[in-house]
Symmetry: C2
Subunit: 571 residues, 2 copies
């Protein structure tokens, strides 16, 4: 999950800070129909969900003459200090709008599970939020529930098929597709189902993932149209026969009902920022076992409506940006023209060896050491043909000499840089003006984005290319299981898919404790998970959590509904 | 689940009938905002969900001077022949509106599980449907998903509490509250969770029910306000300590987040019929282990907006009407002024001994024998202080002499009766004019509804009263387990709750094969399930399915989404 800013900047350092929910409540929203009209969405393409949310029926949009430039916001390797990438994405778009540019945001929908667990809300922060935050953070327009239903309808049909005679010969021990729930519920990770005798199904080992980890979510976010959605759903491999032949959703005949259950969800959601900038908030796959960015349809729709589209990729640039360019940009017309790499003084100091509880003490030396992490992400972005802009997201605790040092280091490295205060002053205020200027300058000379590797390479070679070129590892070690699956991938004709690296977000390596800019390490590929519907092969390194658990005191415990029906404790 | 008409009446018997989806598609809908305005809902109390659905923020409605009369639609004991109760409810309301009465409908939302299983759509049929049927039958406004999330958030918090040290001393073997999914998924009925070692939770036996069987659904449908909702959620007993003390949601501290997750769902949904009559479609608890009718808030809201509210109760009058008067009417201001008992020639013949495949042959003798079932339901309704009206729902296969016979038998029994053709001609046409006339005449002299038993009786006595007075059984036999729970109910101070009978809908007895009007039988109470949040004690007779399974060829297999994003196969 994305780390969010924990101690953001504020106008009066030291004063009790208003929380995000309070700031969001104080904002005045305009009717979303009015926002839509300004963006050029015809009334009959707009489906209102209350006064401040709407879905866009993309098929009813006029043919576009616009083809907005995409600005991809990514970050250094995340740390517990928080980078505030979503906050910066929102703030940057507000600043670009303030500079007179026709701007739209395309970002992910938050997942309910983590919100009830650790995170509280996940729609930006401070003065850079998308609204209405209570709705977006809870059920929003029901997209994740629809994805859950489509996923679980498939599971019910699979187990019913086995129960009703198993004409396809599904091996119950080799059903790879799992049920999902948008909840942090560790007890459902490993379960045995179908107990209770012959009338209750066929017992087998199974499990639940969180909804954002569903392949249906990845398919949903990569589909370029309803037709493409149906085709991708049909291509999902849900398991294997007793003689190990892969079985697809199309063979089971379940693709139609799954698409039907997604008929409204697939329409992008329009909301607004505190500053009134239009935002498409749509889809939200995991950034480890999937590609970690909003739906392709939201991004392409935003390009039809705006001149600049600010979008975001999950985790650091080694994961999010790489997948954006090697997976999403191959599937849809979303190639970025500029890339913003978010860094914070706090996080750079952690990469320089400072412990999380010592971050408040100014330490330019540590910051200079930690800069190596940022420098490498900058170099990596250039490998995709793009020129990065570094955004330093200012925090209350940052010392002026520290901020100056980051700017100096960036200038020395020949990369555009600006300090932004999007939390405290907001992009709607002047908090992101400098950054907007740098981004606009970068967009004057847009790069030509290209993927890192050609699809013709073998899966093994693709993984090695990412490890060497982006992570700077020395080699890849495949486990016995992964080696076996490599052969299976080849035998099944799945060599042509790009790879989706599932690696810790905290390090370039697969060891989360190796901060900064390590090199020469070995990356261990433990398993390969073919995702033939989404269209990538997940390479699992290290341990991987696809169903999070709740902490000792979940955020849910402070949440409530007051007598007026207002949400309490969602921050 | 409610049986629906399988071979309804149509203008041209023998011609290929259009299916419900085709009829629904051919209808012209008016913008729901316009319908709302006509009903007197102020704009700021209306939250649109697309063009044809809206939620009503009840707190923003003006103080009502209206207090509409409630017409409760119930039925004879259902048979596989189908009674078409929902269709008749919609058609009757359309006819009352056509007669110039300010009428509103309050009915249940359909559950997705059965729709993907056996039923197809469940929003009325023919010309008597609520629209848009595709949306209402699928995710609608997300209410059931919100209820699922609230239910499962509680479950995740329970298992997390056990995992994190179990300060409350929850006995993992005595967690009675189950996870839910709105899916027919038999493999989830009995499962073992928390497997995989110490980091993955505490192993225990568990299971999933279908969402409509959740106590959260029952609570949702009985709550009279947000405050009442929170109190009821807090009172839910989710399990027991090692020393068998009941544990409530309030003790765990999970009531707040559950209420928060229901903040929008609790607002009634406004839609329209094919004829343009406003309908509140909201909530939908099981009719066996719960009370089986739409939310109290929908019914009371409709009373504030209309002079006549047509509402429906699940299954036959022995279950639905009894629970409406003994459970729902005690919790909310919804007491009916008249009761419509739906019967069909086909179903009466089945009660008279005709097999389902011989129903097309006219058989007045069988019909006269089967009339005993209807006659008893009529008598029963009178025991609640209400005067019934019999509605004969006409089917294509009904012979004129059969229809005449039912009318004659009703007149001989001194009960109002009318034949209605709500499927073929519709209530918006003249298909329900006669019925509307009879209902209006009944409303001129409304009864004074009262419950069957006082709450002061013991739970055992309450059950016996229902069995003797309504079912006409001779006695009740409590299993050893039920006897034990009776004592526990008493010890825990739960004697004051009404009882919620979970009995087969097909017979007055607990034996589904005893059709007609059996008497002198013994009712076997197998288990008692205290539902302290909903506020009733479920008495389980016979076997009970709280998670349905899918048939060999699920309805889902014919469902699809076409290239234009239109639903296919939902009928």
């Amino acid at each position: 999950m994305t780390a969010t800013a924990s101690t953001p900047s504020a106008p009066h350092p030291g004063s009790p800070l208003p929380n995000d929910l309070e700031i969001a409540r104080a904002a005045t929203l305009r009717p979303i129909a009015q926002i839509a009209e300004e963006v050029g969405i015809p009334e009959d393409a707009l489906e209102l969900y209350g006064r401040y949310k709407a879905k866009i029926d993309v098929g009813r949009l006029p043919d576009a003459d616009r083809h907005g430039q995409v600005v991809l916001v990514t970050a250094i390797s995340p740390t517990p200090a928080g980078e505030g990438k979503s906050t910066l994405t929102v703030g940057l778009a507000d600043s670009l709008a303030r500079a007179g540019k026709r701007t739209m945001i395309a970002i992910r929908e938050p997942s309910l599970g983590p919100i009830l667990g650790m995170k509280g809300g996940a729609t930006g922060g401070g003065k850079s939020q998308v609204l209405p935050m209570e709705d977006i953070n809870l059920h929003f327009t029901g997209d994740f529930h629809a994805i859950t239903a489509a996923n679980n309808a498939l599971c019910a049909l699979i187990d019913n098929h086995i129960f009703q005679g198993n004409a396809l010969g599904i091996d119950p021990r080799r059903v790879t597709f799992k049920r999902v729930m948008d909840m942090n519920d560790r007890s459902l990770r490993q379960i045995v189902i179908g107990l209770g005798g012959a009338a209750q199904g066929v017992p087998r080992e199974a499990g639940f993932d969180i909804t954002v980890a569903s392949e249906v979510m990845a398919v949903f976010c990569l589909a370029s149209s309803v037709t493409d959605l149906k085709e991708r759903l049909g291509r999902i491999t849900f398991g294997y026969t007793y003689d190990r032949r892969p079985l697809t959703v199309a063979e089971l005949g379940a693709g139609g009902v799954m698409a039907m259950l997604l008929k409204d969800a697939i329409k992008p959601n329009l909301v607004q920022t505190i500053a009134g900038t239009p935002a498409l908030v749509h889809g939200g796959p995991f950034a480890n076992i999937a590609h970690g960015c909003n739906s392709a349809l939201a991004t392409t729709t935003a390009r039809r409506l705006a001149d600049i589209v600010v979008t975001e990729a999950g985790f650091g640039a080694d994961l999010g940006a790489e997948k954006f360019l090697d997976i999403k940009s191959r599937a849809a017309d979303v190639a970025p023209s500029a890339v913003v790499v978010v860094a914070t003084v706090r996080a750079l100091k952690m990469h320089g060896g400072v412990a999380v509880d010592a971050l408040k003490t100014p330490d330019v030396g540590a910051l200079e050491r930690g800069f190596a992490n940022l420098a490498r992400h900058v170099e990596n972005v250039r490998k995709f043909g793009l020129e990065p802009v570094v955004a330093v997201n200012a925090f209350v605790s940052d010392a002026p000499e520290e901020l100056d040092a980051v700017v100096r280091l960036c200038r020395e490295a020949g990369v555009r840089v600006a300090v932004a205060d999007v939390w405290g002053r907001g992009g709607g205020g002047d908090g992101g003006d400098d950054l907007a200027r740098e981004v606009l300058a970068a967009l004057e000379h847009p790069g030509t984005a290209h993927p890192l590797y050609p699809l013709e390479l073998s899966v093994e070679e693709k993984i090695l290319t990412v490890v060497r070129e982006v992570y700077r590892g020395a080699a890849v070690e495949f486990s016995e299981a992964a080696t076996k699956t490599l052969k299976q991938v080849h035998d099944n004709g799945w060599d042509g898919f790009p790879v989706c690296m599932a690696k810790t977000q905290y390090s370039f390596s697969d060891d989360p404790s190796l901060l900064g800019a390590p090199e020469g390490f070995i990356v261990h590929v433990r398993e390969l998970w073919p995702r033939t519907g989404a269209g990538f092969i997940v390479a699992v390194t290290g341990s991987l959590m696809t169903m999070p658990g709740l902490p000792k005191v979940p955020a849910a415990m402070r949440m409530d509904l007051d007598e007026d029906g207002q949400v309490v404790g969602l921050f």
